[in-house]
């Protein structure tokens, strides 16, 4: 993991030295980007690198929803189910995606291409309904726009 440790060191230089413990979440994010999902041993690895109690990192890992602890598909679709999007048809679009992908919310397609998650407010209420695929936001959605977006994904 030497390459990873190099990246760790780089992040470490951003924070004042006395704030070592603040690196827990940034390092978990970084590791997630590298590995797709995180396990307990990843948490222990970070704890050892930072010299903080392993329990602290394990707790963080299990508490923050953006940190996946199960393998996810090549693309993760997060579609908003909160109030702004619901008023603009989010439920219909979630059902549409479930039918289109042949999975339920929370599941991954058999070919491993897509994971579908219904999430809380993405701060897109003025451009609802909205979803985020991997990092990118897609807003003012409708069925045909979803078709187009999914088609363009590798």
């Amino acid at each position: 993991m030497s390459c990873l440790e190099e990246k760790f060191d780089q992040l470490r230089s951003v924070y004042p030295a006395e704030m070592n413990s603040s690196l827990v979440l940034p390092l978990l994010h970084l590791m997630l980007k590298e590995k797709g999902h995180l396990t307990e041993s990843d948490a222990v690895f970070i704890a050892q690198y930072l010299d903080v109690p392993p329990m602290q990192v394990k707790e963080a890992l299990t508490w923050y929803t953006m940190l996946y602890r199960q393998p996810v598909g090549k693309h993760v679709i997060k579609i908003c189910r909160n109030i702004g999007c619901s008023l603009m048809g989010a439920e219909r679009l979630i059902e549409y995606l479930e039918r289109k992908l042949g999975i339920k919310e929370g599941e991954t397609t058999a070919d491993g291409r897509f994971t579908l998650l219904a999430v809380e407010c993405l701060a897109s209420c003025g451009t609802a309904p909205a979803m985020q695929i991997d990092d990118t936001y897609h807003e003012q959605l409708n069925e045909s726009k979803i078709d187009q977006i999914l088609k363009e994904l590798s």
Binding site: V24, W63, T65, N82, I83, L87, A123, C125, G126
Partner: protein, 427 residues
């Protein structure tokens, strides 16, 4: 007379977010003026004179918050709250995407006033374009000597560290935000001690919302009194209001405090979708109690007026609901959210938000039973005022509001096992 704009004072173009464009519209002149000609206490006094109140939801006077910090402390921190998670709110994101430099300038000025060497931006982890724009702007600002060592050639140095969140709404609560920056799961803390006394790593800390801090350059450039002259007497300035839901033209608007809700909905947003009647307005983000059309008829958008009407100005997220919407199913969307976001630390909130969601979900599936509404009210009583942070109250207020204003719909659902309105949320 053209209205004063603190934010919407430029056209958004492909490069309006850059340093060059920000400078062209007068950017970083306030910082220069402050660093080269003002004492920290003068800056604080100017902010006090402006009457600026926090834009994160609670509306606490910013200058007063700054004055609580003991400036003799060897280490003081500033944290910008950019966790923007309150459903209905999407304003901070606009600031990052379009004028990150305005926030950076505001943070450096605030850091100078507060004698801060390291400041933080806690930005919600999902944000992509806002994050990238911020990082670009920070890079530009560092290269131009506007952030970092010896800013603008003066003796003042300040770094801004960007910390990405992990997808937890509660981390927008200020003590939770600090615990999260410290590298723990984001449990809120009991107050007192307040962060101004014991905050990040036990050091005095000021936490301000993105919009609050991004307003600071304007105040220093134009004077606190000029800012105080805008808006209402107790609620000065302009504010970003995000309108969502059943309107023809949803979006973000900058309005002077005291603007009319009706004008916002019917003129700025072009009225209700499909020409329908208005049914309800959630005036300031999902946690604020819902209001009826009759209650917003003459209501103005300032903290005092909305409070007098029994709700809150909150974060300025106005959610508009048209006639024909099923309020039972809509409340279920909210109760599910709060149950999901409770951090689990205190029993009334953890259990109560889950029980409320169970009961409301049961009602919305036609399985409600007699006594459910009383049970809900009893649970909110058990939660409110009995929890570590305000998320417990935030989960309870919508329930009380919906039951008070639309009780008949809940009773109908329980009695008939179905919605009065076909269970519709979309119009």
């Amino acid at each position: 007379m053209t209205e004063t704009r603190v934010f919407f004072n430029f056209d958004v173009t492909a490069d309006s977010h850059t340093l060059a464009a920000y400078r062209q519209r007068g950017g970083y002149q306030a910082l220069e003026k402050v660093l080269k000609g003002m004492q920290p206490i003068d800056v604080e006094n100017e902010v006090k004179a402006s009457g600026l109140r926090g834009r994160g939801g609670a509306g606490f006077p910013t200058g007063m918050k700054w004055s609580f910090v003991n400036k003799q402390s060897p280490v003081i921190y500033l944290c910008c709250n950019a966790d923007e998670g309150e459903p209905g709110t999407f304003k901070d994101r606009w600031i990052f995407e379009n004028t990150s430099h305005q926030l950076i300038e505001g943070m450096i000025i605030a850091s100078y006033a507060l004698k801060v060497r390291h400041s933080f931006i806690y930005i919600r982890g999902e944000f992509d374009l806002p994050y990238r724009r911020l990082m670009e702007a920070l890079k530009e600002a560092k290269e131009a000597g506007l952030v970092g060592e010896k800013i603008l050639g003066t003796e003042f140095s300040c770094d801004i560290i960007v910390h990405q969140g992990g997808g937890a709404y509660v981390c927008g609560e200020e003590s939770s935000l600090l615990t999260s920056i410290e590298g723990f799961k984001g449990y809120p803390k009991n107050k007192p001690p307040f962060p101004a006394v014991k905050g990040l790593y036990q050091k005095p800390t000021v936490i301000n919302n993105v919009e609050t801090l991004a307003t600071i350059p304007w105040i220093l450039a134009n004077g606190g009194a000029t800012y105080a002259a805008i808006g209402t007497e107790k609620c000065s300035g302009t504010k970003l209001f995000g309108v969502s839901g059943h309107v023809n033209r949803p979006g973000l608007f900058e309005k002077p405090m005291g603007y009319s809700y009706k004008k916002l909905i019917y003129e700025d947003c072009g009225g209700i979708l499909g020409g329908k009647e208005l049914k309800a307005v959630i005036p300031g983000g999902s946690s604020t109690p819902v209001l009826l059309p009759s209650e917003i008829e003459t209501l103005t958008m300032d903290a005092e007026a909305v409070q007098a009407a029994g709700s809150m100005l909150g974060s300025g997220g106005v959610i508009v609901i048209a006639e024909g919407t099923c309020m039972v199913r809509l409340l279920q969307v909210l109760s599910r959210f709060y149950a999901h976001e409770s951090c689990g630390q205190c029993t009334p909130c953890r259990e109560g938000s889950a029980w409320m969601n169970d009961i409301i979900t049961r009602i919305s599936r036609g399985k409600g039973v007699k006594g459910d509404l009383e049970r809900l009210e009893c649970i909110t009583k058990g939660i409110m005022g009995n929890t570590v942070c305000a998320l417990g109250d935030a989960a309870s207020m919508p329930v009380n509001g919906f039951l008070k204003k639309f009780r008949h719909e809940f009773e109908y659902f329980i009695e008939h096992g179905r919605s009065m309105y076909d269970g519709r949320l979309e119009i």
